[in-house]
Each structure stands twice: as structure tokens, then as C-alpha cells.
Symmetry: C2
Subunit: 472 residues, 2 copies
């Protein structure tokens, strides 16, 4: 077997190239001839299926139902909410012809579906009895990005978008925060990402939203990834679409709306947070294959041992690599694919009644008696999940800064990757000045922490603590 693994650029030499190399070497994606779109290969798609399964179950537990809306939005429908169309029109793909005929009205491929849901809700909602409406859809959206990068920024995006309508402002605000929490918990507990959550500024919020909450992840290189958002719309869209309901008190009222979404970008964040020079490192809870068994030598006793250990595993997402590649190649391949636990079973170890277990996160090798192997694997999967979070959390903390003056801010911004916390007056002017001077954009307003000094830019009264950082 002459198969050769693709070379991965060292992570600290060129992080961007390392990322692309890992995506290709781990066979997560492949390039296509459709510019700006990638193919999501079986291993990459299996991660997305795991994400879908877990999140979909969380959504449903909270009463959400899945629907499927049209993929196309007539231009006149997109134009109904002013801020929204201004935000999205410059980056949509337009269908102008169907078959051989020019369309009377051009259609955009949905970049997001607020207007489609509003159009639907207008038909559905008439009485307080029709509320709340808690809908979600899993679909592909299109945004005509100029520069693209696998999972992070693509012309086609696989995502879910929740869209809900509520009788009261309070209920809608509660929903917005509840779904933010679902995203935060999922990213912390399943993807092992030590995310920071907060509120987007006026400048950075979603086109048409009243408030946008964000889940901000910090990559290995200190650069931010906006990794999920939850929007509170108030009644802007509902008013624009003339959606009303008769409330219990017999008054005609306008309902309040939210939307929230996460994309395959979460796969990118997982790679960029945990990966290393050997390739992908997957948290056990999201790994399509949690344990891989590699037989060393073609021996009956080796195979019997593997089958015995495997059948005692509680979790059956394991693989036994019986291909005709060399053990060394199989080890490397298991590493590139980020499989959390590798079990090497050979006659030499079996002579001592042992097998060798290798942790992907630390590459530590552990000799374990055959009889204890299944239990040890289960334990390790839990340990790895926890340790991966802890390691990422500690690394992230070394890249969180607080700047007390603008000079200090500019100095950190220039020399150290990461997020910088400052006191801020709340004005877009100061936010824009920081962007112009340093290239850093606001990440999020920290809601649970008040400013404890003047705005570092304008020296006026500080109102909020806010994070700034570079972003992908």
C-alpha cells in the first residue's frame, strides 16, 4: 500500500494554510468547480449530522417545530423591510430566468428567511390562540461572498434558522436569550469551545434587528469567529408585514419576533480551536468515530481481542481498521481525522495481556490490561471531552486583555492576538475610530459587567464594557 497522507503545514508557521490543509487532509471538504462553494465530504458531513441531531433534539424539547420554506424570495417581498433589504440586497444571488424564459420578477436565493416567515405568519396568526409560533428550518442559504474559506465563509451556507412570534415583548426577549443559551451550552459542552456571549453593538447587529446577541469563539490564533446569533426584532418586521392578532382583551395587537441561527461555521471553530500539527482533534461528543481499533499483524487472537473490547463499549461509534494499509499509516490517518481514542492491539502487548490506548488530544500512550480496556476507553472519552475544554479555556484566557487607555489598546492590538476589553461610551463614532485605527471590530458588549471608568477613546462617561478583536 503506497498511500501517502497529505502534508499539513505546521500550525505556528502559517495558521491559515494549516487550516486549509487540515480540512483537506482529514477529508472534511473538497473543492468544486462551482466558485465559492465547497463539497462537504462524508467525514465532514457526519460531523454536521451529529450537530444537527443534538441541536434539533434541544429545539424540539423547547417546543419548536421544523418547517420548510421556499428557497426563493421575490424581489418585492425582500423589499418590504427597509433596513433588512439594505443589509442583504448587495450580497444575494439573483435568479432571472426559468428554463428559456426571462422571469417577470427576479427572485433572490434566500440569504436568510425573515421575510418568508413573516409572509407565512401573516396568514397564520390572527388570535392570541395562534401564539407563540416556534418554527425552525434546516436549509441552505446563499450570500455572494467575495472571499471564501471552508466552513467559515462560503457562498452557500448550511444552517438552521429559528423564527418565532410571541404575544408579548417579554416572551420574545426570553426566547431570544433562551436560544442564545442553547447555543452557548452546545458549544461549551459538546464542541468544547470556551465561548463568550454578549450583545452586538448597533453597528454590528443584524439588518432589521432591535438586538443581536452573539456567541463569540476565539480561535487558536486569537482571532474571533462569530459562531451563532440570536436576534430580537421587536415588532419591526411584524409592522412592516402588517401582522396582527386579537388578544384576550379583545385588542388588536402586533406580535413580537425573534430569529436565531448557527451554521457549519461551528465545524470550522472546532478545527481552529482544537486542531494541531497532526491534524484534526475532535471532542468525543461530536466525533463521528469515537474509538478506532488498529490490529497490528494479521492474527486471530488480535481480532478476537478487538471484538471483545468493542462489544463491551457502551457507545457503538467505533471503527475497526482492517484495511491493507500499514499500522503506521493507520495511526497517522486516525490522527489526521482527530479520532479521540485509538486502540492498538498487537501480539507483543497481548503477551502481557495488554493493549495500547492512545489519546488523540495529548497523544499520550497508555498500556491497559485487556480486561479493563472497555472501561478505560469510556473513561478516557469523558476525560478527553473535559480536558479539551479546559485546555482551550486556559489558552483563551491568556489572550483576553483589558486596556485602560487607548495607547495601551493600540499597543496590545498591534502586538498581541486576542480580545481586548475596554470601557466604552456606547457611541458608534468611538467604535468606528477603533476600527479605522487598529482594524479591530467590536465583538460584544458584556451585559453582566458595567463600565468602571471613562471611554478609552473619547474620554466621555463609560457606559459598557465591550470586547474588541480581529475576526475571520
Amino acid at each position: 500500500m503506497k498511500a501517502k497522507l497529505e502534508k499539513i503545514t505546521p500550525r505556528d508557521e502559517d495558521f491559515s494554510q494549516w487550516y486549509t490543509d487540515v480540512c483537506l487532509a482529514a477529508k472534511l471538504i473538497s473543492y468544486s468547480h462551482t466558485k465559492g462553494s465547497v463539497i462537504i465530504c462524508p467525514y465532514g458531513y457526519a460531523i454536521w449530522e451529529n450537530i444537527q441531531k443534538i441541536l434539533d433534539s434541544e429545539f424540539k424539547k423547547l417546543g419548536h417545530e421544523n418547517v420548510q420554506m421556499p428557497m426563493f424570495i421575490p424581489e418585492s417581498l425582500l423589499n418590504i423591510e427597509k433596513e433588512h433589504v439594505e443589509g442583504f440586497a448587495p450580497e444575494v444571488a439573483w435568479v432571472t430566468h426559468g428554463g428559456n424564459e426571462k422571469l417577470e420578477e427576479r427572485l433572490c436565493v434566500r440569504p436568510t428567511s425573515e421575510v418568508l416567515f413573516c409572509d407565512y405568519y401573516k396568514d397564520l396568526i390572527h388570535s392570541y390562540r395562534d401564539l407563540p409560533k416556534l418554527y425552525n428550518q434546516w436549509c441552505t442559504i446563499v450570500r455572494w461572498e467575495k472571499t471564501t474559506r471552508p466552513f467559515l465563509r462560503s457562498r452557500e451556507i448550511l444552517w438552521q434558522e429559528g423564527h418565532t412570534m410571541h404575544a408579548t415583548k417579554e416572551e420574545a426577549e426570553k426566547e431570544t436569550l433562551q436560544m442564545l443559551k442553547v447555543y452557548e451550552n452546545f458549544q461549551r459542552n459538546v464542541l468544547a469551545l470556551p465561548v463568550i456571549v454578549g450583545l452586538k453593538t448597533e453597528k454590528e447587529k443584524f439588518a432589521g434587528a432591535e438586538k443581536t446577541y452573539t456567541v463569540e469563539a476565539m480561535m487558536y490564533d486569537g482571532v474571533a469567529l462569530q459562531n451563532g446569533t440570536s436576534h430580537y426584532f421587536g415588532d419591526h418586521f411584524a409592522k412592516a408585514f402588517d401582522i396582527t392578532f386579537l388578544d384576550k382583551d379583545n385588542q388588536l395587537k402586533t406580535p413580537y419576533q425573534t430569529s436565531w441561527g448557527v451554521t457549519t461555521r461551528m465545524i470550522g471553530a472546532t478545527i481552529m480551536t482544537h486542531g494541531d500539527d497532526h491534524g484534526l482533534v475532535l471532542p468525543p461528543k461530536i466525533a463521528p468515530i469515537k474509538t478506532i481499533f488498529i490490529p497490528i499483524g494479521n492474527d486471530e487472537n488480535v481480532m478476537k481481542t478487538i471484538n471483545d473490547i468493542a462489544k463491551n463499549l457502551e457507545d457503538n461509534t467505533y471503527q475497526i481498521d482492517t484495511s491493507d494499509k500499514t499500522p503506521g499509516f493507520k495511526f497517522a490517518e486516525a490522527e489526521v481525522k482527530g479520532i479521540p481514542v485509538r486502540v492498538e492491539v498487537g501480539l507483543k502487548d497481548l503477551g502481557n495481556n495488554e493493549v495500547t490506548i492512545v489519546r488523540r488530544d495529548t497523544l499520550e500512550k497508555i498500556k491497559v490490561p485487556v480486561s479493563l480496556a472497555s472501561k478505560k476507553i469510556e473513561e478516557l472519552l469523558e476525560t478527553i471531552q473535559k480536558d479539551m475544554y479546559q485546555k482551550a479555556y486556559e489558552r483563551r484566557n491568556t489572550m483576553l486583555y483589558e486596556a485602560k487607555t487607548y495607547d495601551e489598546f493600540k499597543n496590545i492590538a498591534q502586538n498581541k492576538p486576542g480580545f481586548i476589553k475596554i470601557n466604552w461610551c456606547g457611541e458608534t463614532e468611538c467604535e468606528e475610530k477603533i476600527k479605522e485605527d487598529t482594524g479591530l471590530k467590536s465583538r460584544c458588549i458584556i451585559e453582566e459587567e458595567d463600565a468602571d471608568g471613562k471611554c478609552i477613546v473619547c474620554q466621555k462617561e463609560g457606559k459598557k464594557k465591550i470586547y474588541f478583536g480581529k475576526q475571520y
Copy 2:
């Protein structure tokens, strides 16, 4: 509660209107402002999710893996296989602008993904070790249909498309038939559809395929629905795309290809086969809610009884309707939605220690002792599944004809809905004459039955038995 159920046109009065009424009244779909597309509502989408779950598991058991290909096909890529582009180009949607810029090359929204998969396979396949490739994707495709009908014919279609590549002709042919069998079994055993499978004629086969196998369902009104196809491509596409592999014998060879797909049309077939004047009738195996409990009167003992029966059910897809609607309204709603088993629990019955169970398929009411209710519900769900198939099978059989002469054929075609079997010479000319004379199109060649007489049209030697019928 003044809620009123939407009126359903009697099935035998206007079948087409009945179908639309059921789709709307059961809240399976809703119309949108995107012409030619519908909204799939929560209840309709839940049926699709059940279909996906079962089929996806079957595909994976047989070694298939899911991927996600681009949604857009550059025009030059679509143009590579001649028959294919001629078949599809007249019915695709074209994206000509991205943002504010005109694209250098226009892109079609995929009407099917053969060319995308071939483009991908060209990169992936080099050695016999790379074969077979067994890929599938769940996605939306677009075909610019002039006339549309919910689930049956829409500009946007939710479907799955399997695409596989094999080292030998035999293996590819085996895969084509295997997937046809998966579709047939699923439709028979899960959707309770007594389908007929066979081979499409040269005229009716898929654009670019060597052979197209089809699953033909017959609706209540005797009209056919092509309800799934499995194609054998030979090496046409592989040659057009210059895909080759080095075989074990060191010879450079061209691989053999298949594709196969089913769509939400299967939901339409289920409605049109089993539904009645009260609405939808769902086979238990695909029903999102298998059992609905309706309390009569607001009483503690009623609710306790319901909870006791429900918690003993093996299958937990039940619902307890505690809304403030009247029991009569709830009964009607459960009927419209086609919920297989309805359990009415009220004080009067409880006085005799009984509950009333109603079968949706027959509307039969059965009084059952409380202690036996859970067991009876489980039994009924199995019985209903079987009985629904049997009833549809018997009805279908009354609409299967065999015509020995062309006059007999024309007579049946004009007077009786259904499928007509004939001896056929195999020539497209005779097939087209039938179409011209009667409007009937060929459904499928019956592979296991040879002709036993002359072609009823041209009187030349009969080669095949073939079904003709009207189609949706």
C-alpha cells in the same frame, strides 16, 4: 372556541380539489408568494422527517455515506453530457447576478446532481481501491415546472439522490436493482402503497441513463404516480467526464455509475392512496402522532386514566389533546390529520371501566376495558398498517387491466381509470401512437413476464409486457 375545520370537497366529486383540500385542512402545506413553491408546514415536514429517518438508516446499513454538493452548476459543467443537458436545460432556473454584478458564467440551480458528482468523482477515483463510492445527499433541487401541485410537482423539490461508482458493470447493475428494492420495500411496508416496479422505456428513461427502473404507484382515482427511480448509467457519464481508474490487473478502466432518488412526492402518493372524505389517513409507521387521547370533560380521573394508558405504550409518539376546543372538534381534527388511533376517555365510559378507541382507517369504534387499552392500541396500530396495505392492494387490483387488442385497449383507456397491460413490440413508434391516440403513457416494462402474443398496435412480434396509464 369557535374554531372551524376547513371544508373538504368529497373525494368522488372532484378528486383533484379533494387532494388540495386535504393538504391544506390537515395543515401539511401552505401557499407562499413564491410562485410554484409551497411551504411545508410542521405536520407535513414531520412526515418527511420520518421518511428521512427510515430511508437514511437503510442507505447507511448498505454502506452509503451522506455528502453535500454545491447547489449551483456552472453552465459549462452542465453541458458536458449531451443527452443530460438536452433533457434538463429547458427546465432549470438560472442565476445570472451575484450581488450587483453580472456573473461571467451563469449558474443553474441543480435540477439533479449527476454532473456535480462526476466532477467530484474525477478527483476522487484513481485506483480500484477507491471503488465503490457510495454517496447520497438529502437536498432541494429546482425544476422550472409550468403547472404545480403540492408534493407532486413543484419548482422546488425536497429529495435524496444517491450517486454511486463501481469497478464493474455487474456491480453497478446490482446496486441499481438493490436501491430499487429499498424503495419498493419502503413504500410497501411503511407507506402501505401497493406499488408496481419495472423498467422505463427508451422514451421515458432519465436523460443520460442506460436503464431507468421505476416504482409506479396507483392513486385512488387510478392515475399513476412515478414514485421513485433508480438509474443505471453504464459508463456514459464517466467517459464524458474522463473518469478512469487503475484496476488490479494494471489496466486503466472506466467505472460504472448509478443514481437513484425519491422525493416528497411519496407524501402525495400516501395522501392520494389512503385519504378519504374526512381527510388524511396515515399508515401508523409514518404517522408523526400514532395515537391521540381526547379527554371528554375536565376530570381528574379522566386525565389519570389517559396518563396510565399512555405511559404503558411502547411507542411514545402519542399526543394528549388538552386544548380548550370541544371534543367534537377534536375528533374531527384528529380525523383530518389522519392520526391512526384515537382514544376517547370520558366519565360515562369510565363508569363501565372502559374507554372508546376509534380506528382512523375504518372509523370503527371499539369499547375496551381500561386495563387492556394500551395493549389494544399497540395491536391496532399493527392491524391498521396491514389492513391499509391490503385495502389499497385490492382496490389497485380492480384497476389493473389486460388488453388483447388495440380496440379493447382504447375502450378501457376511454372508460376505466387504471393501468392497462399489453403485449408490445418494444418500438417507440407504437408507444407514441398509443400516447397520441389515448393520452396514456407507458408506466413500465414488466421484467418478469414475457409477451405472449403480437404487439397490439403494429401486430409485429410481441417482445415485452408493458403497463400504460395516465399520470400525474
